[in-house]
């Protein structure tokens, strides 16, 4: 590793080398910080020449979604590759370098009247490349869907240092295979993202947030079901007890409405009527609470959490199974649920052994409900036979072939992703 650090320093100078701390009690890795595309290519070529294993990252905020790195010689971050390459408000598209911070990109397009999706938690600590590589969603997922649906094209550095592209910068384009979709959520195991183009959405004219509090989560989930039946188009609906404001009613259902002012006003009336006694925020206070709710997603660098996804129809049943399993371990049932999407984020504080046992038990209980559980969080070393993402399913062999074809020497992030990809 020392040799790798020295080689990188020769290549990039002292400013281009740092250290990546992998958490308490763990080693640090030398970190390459290329400041240009050319430098990044040189680092990847250096790795090819010296047979080094690389760990690609942005800020590293989501490294904890995968297994802890093993056998990595050098971390390489794209965070210094920042900037908007093209933003044409009339086209409604944005092309930016992978290291651009999400909050800066959102501010840049807001000036042109656009909303950047995904609106992820803690956008000041997340890069575009990191968000796409992790397949991360934001508070706006319910309305806009996953980011992979809006990535129009990408330029990437492949394992041998070659720069290739797929897709383009146009809102509609079926020219060649959609490799940029494959790269989304691949956690840096296929290539390093250099640049991506995204479709943008209109910035909402007005935002309102309707909150209904309840003593029990079941009441909040029932209210969420009633909201879904209204067939409105909220930006987000979430149920949580992470930011308790009233001890007698720790659970809150929040419906975030955003769009044209007249539409928001109309939806607000519908929602308030369906929820009965509800608190309503409008404009800036609503936007502030929206950001707070967005940032409730557990931070992998600090918290270990279970992330569960199922069909919306199975949500209540899945919640009960999770609540009971946590209750048996005397874990406080803290949760952030997105009922429309049918996802649950459950922070837990358990020893590695107890966590492994909980995961095994819950996966078995959730399987009949077609629910999937993954473990997110730093500091968790699950046993080798317990995959943080779930047991490999159909298509896994094909995934191995894709990885072998695109990174034949296992240059990138080897073995950290699902099933050891």
């Amino acid at each position: 590793m020392r040799a790798a650090a020295a080689s990188v320093e020769r290549l990039l100078g002292p400013a281009g080398v740092g250290q990546l701390a992998l958490g308490a009690g763990r080693a640090t890795l030398p970190l390459a910080l290329p400041a240009s595309e050319g430098e990044l290519v040189e680092v990847v070529r250096l790795a090819a020449r010296d047979d080094l294993c690389l760990l690609p990252l942005g800020t590293g905020a989501k490294l904890g979604w995968c297994r802890a790195p093993r056998g990595v010689d050098l971390a390489v971050s794209t965070r210094a590759l920042r900037g908007v390459v093209a933003y044409e408000p009339g086209d409604g598209t944005l092309t930016a370098l992978a290291g651009s911070r999400m909050d800066e990109l959102a501010a840049a397009v807001r000036a042109g009247g656009h909303h950047l999706t995904p609106d992820v938690a803690r956008p000041g600590g997340a890069t575009l490349g990191g968000v796409l590589a992790a397949g991360q969603s934001g508070i706006d997922r319910l309305r806009h869907g996953p980011a992979r649906g809006h990535v129009l094209g990408a330029r990437v550095v492949e394992a041998d240092g070659t720069v290739t592209k797929s897709g383009g910068r146009l809102v509609k384009n079926v020219t060649g295979y959609d490799l940029q979709r494959l790269y989304c959520g691949s956690h840096g195991t296929l290539c390093i993202l250099l640049e991506a183009s995204l479709r943008l959405f209109p910035l909402p004219e007005h935002t309102a947030l309707v909150t209904a509090r309840s003593a029990r989560p079941e009441q909040a989930l029932a209210a969420a079901r009633a909201l879904r039946a209204l067939r409105l188009q909220p930006l987000a609906v979430c149920v949580e007890n992470l930011r308790v404001e009233r001890a007698e009613a720790p659970w809150a259902l929040h419906a975030l409405l955003a769009g044209r002012a007249a539409q928001v006003a109309w939806e607000r009336e519908q929602v308030a009527r369906a929820l009965g006694a509800a608190e309503v925020l409008e404009g800036e206070p609503a936007e502030a609470l929206r950001d707070e709710l967005r940032d409730l997603e557990p931070a992998a660098a600090e918290t270990t959490s279970l992330h569960v996804a199922c069909r919306p129809s199975a949500l209540e049943e899945v919640w009960h199974l999770c609540r009971d399993a946590l209750g048996r371990r005397e874990c406080a049932p803290a949760a952030l649920l997105h009922p429309g999407l049918a996802t649950l984020d459950l922070p837990v504080v358990l020893s590695t052994q107890a966590l492994a046992q909980l995961v095994r038990e819950l996966r078995a209980a959730l399987a009949p409900h077609r629910a999937r559980l993954s473990v997110r969080g730093a500091g968790v070393e699950l046993p080798d036979d317990l995959d943080p993402f779930g047991e490999p399913g159909p298509g896994f062999e094909l995934m191995q072939r894709l990885r072998a074809r695109l990174d034949p020497r296992g240059r990138f992030a080897a073995g950290r992703f699902h099933g050891g990809l």
């Binding site: 086209d91 146009l170 067939r231 298509g395 695109l406």
Partner: protein
């Protein structure tokens, strides 16, 4: 074709599932691209995923190339057979397997006709958004292979955003069941990668399709202009104002005349130089606000007349004229070359004018129909395929328009795909190394490269041009591209 192979296939699909007869094989010789034609050695029409899998395994063992086919409505030659190959069609797989209203998805067989999916879920208050103009004939499986679009993709996105899961039969005949509509994929997004693969990765036999709540209100506007220029500028202004109509379509003068002379006449005035179809969907409040803003823009741009479709019957009539525009063109000339290019939306007007100039210089008749909101142009050039010189002239004009669009930051295809038609033009957009990566991804699915061979990737890109560790690293300027 080997008699033993045929007997084996017959034992799987029965006599009804095999098309061997020379005359009955004729319609399978081409798809919507009239220039390319090839007689398949045989056509197999399995009736279930299991039959597809068994047929694929048999054909794989025999080393027979396979061309998958839905309804054959594709316009880029993606379903054109190959010499000595088999066509595997999904025409006998049209069942709706499940409509899940609560979880808002449907599981259907790949051969289901697009429009039948929306019909099947309408009772549950839901619809399937992608609506290619051929939606009365094209299949969901074909839409998946081509990542098909349609007028309403302006608001809702193309097929890729509406496919939640797939059952895929691999080239070797294995079945990959990825039909569960997962929030996020486990591992790599194989479903997302498969959409738009143009039949080169395998055959999708089942599709889990996302359904959306039917809008409370749909309002359709027909805006009539005496200038195509102003019509295009209105579109740019509507997009710049971020008004989000669900569709914005433009038909030019020649198209209007053809439509009006046909059975689909919608009463468009003959003096119009261009008409724009605009649709807004949502709650009454939202639609009201959007329509008022759009009308203000149209009026500022000197619209001659705005008609509003107030009921479903009127709305359907306005759309029928648009959706049958290609068919109506038959009145102008026996054949129609439907080009499909896409440009940045800010450059719409300029490209339409230049394309018109290209055809005028070549003495060709150009009629424009386009998904203006997406920057997706369909310049339609009329010709007679019996006139070889004219065919050549049309193809050259098509290529010139394509080059023009690419120079303006556009691309080869907005929704029809590459197929055979634009295979060589892929080089205008992608370099050897980009194409080599696509080939490697393709080889991960289809090691023998027997699925729909010869499509999408230019013929000369047949070598692995890269090594994993170059001996000498070429010099790279700081900030430059390698």
């Amino acid at each position: 074709m080997d008699a033993r192979l045929i007997a084996e296939l017959r034992s799987v699909v029965g006599a009804a599932g095999l098309v061997l007869d020379h005359v009955r094989r004729k319609p399978y010789e081409y798809d919507g691209l009239p220039f390319k034609k090839c007689a398949p050695a045989l056509v197999v029409l399995p009736a279930s995923t299991e039959e597809v899998a068994r047929c694929m395994a048999i054909l794989h063992r025999a080393g027979v190339p396979i061309v998958p086919r839905g309804a054959g409505t594709g316009l880029a030659g993606g379903a054109t057979p190959v010499e000595g190959g088999a066509v595997v069609g999904t025409a006998r797989m049209q069942r709706v397997l499940e409509v899940n209203v609560e979880d808002r998805f449907a599981r259907v067989e790949a051969g289901l006709v697009n429009l039948d999916l929306s019909r099947a879920c309408a009772a549950g208050g839901l619809f399937y958004a992608p609506d290619p103009s051929s939606q009365m004939a094209c299949t969901i499986g074909g839409n998946v292979a081509n990542n098909s679009g349609g007028p309403h993709c302006f608001k809702y996105g193309t097929t890729a955003r509406h496919v939640l899961g797939l059952k895929i039969v691999t080239p070797e005949g294995d079945v990959l069941d990825l039909t569960e509509p997962e929030v996020d994929p486990l591992g790599y997004d194989l479903v997302g990668l498969f959409v738009g693969c143009e039949g080169m990765f395998g055959i999708a036999t089942e599709v889990s399709a996302r359904l959306m709540p039917l809008p409370e209100v749909t309002e359709t506007l027909l805006a009539i202009f005496d200038s195509l220029d102003e019509c295009c500028e209105s579109v740019s202004e509507i997009i710049a104002a971020r008004l989000e109509p669900s569709a914005i379509e433009i038909l030019d003068k020649l198209t209007i005349r053809a439509v009006e002379a046909s059975v689909y006449a919608a009463g468009y005035p003959a003096q119009a130089e261009a008409v724009m179809l605009l649709e807004s969907e949502g709650s009454a409040v939202e639609v009201g606000a959007n329509v008022a803003d759009m009308v203000a823009i149209l009026e500022r741009r000197g619209v001659l007349e705005i008609r509003r479709a107030r009921d479903e019957k009127q709305r359907k009539k306005l759309w029928a004229a648009r959706k049958s525009a290609f068919g109506a063109m038959g009145r102008i000339a026996p054949d129609l070359y439907v080009a499909d290019v896409v440009v940045p939306r800010t450059r719409l007007r300029e490209i339409v004018m230049s394309a018109t100039g290209i055809c005028a210089r070549r003495g060709l008749k150009l009629a424009n129909v386009f998904h203006a909101g997406d920057g997706n142009l369909h310049p339609n050039i009329s010709f007679d395929r019996r006139d070889a010189a004219e065919v050549e002239n049309v193809l050259a004009a098509g290529r010139e328009i394509m080059e023009l669009c690419i120079a303006a930051g556009g691309s080869l295809s907005g929704e029809h795909g590459i197929g055979l038609e634009k295979r060589e033009e892929m080089r205008l957009v992608f370099g050897d190394e980009d194409l080599a990566t696509m080939l490697r991804v393709r080889a991960s699915w289809d090691r023998a490269e027997r699925m729909n061979p010869g499509k999408l990737i230019p013929v000369r890109t047949c070598m692995e041009i890269r090594t994993t560790a170059p001996a000498v690293a070429p010099a790279v300027a700081p900030g430059g591209t390698a």
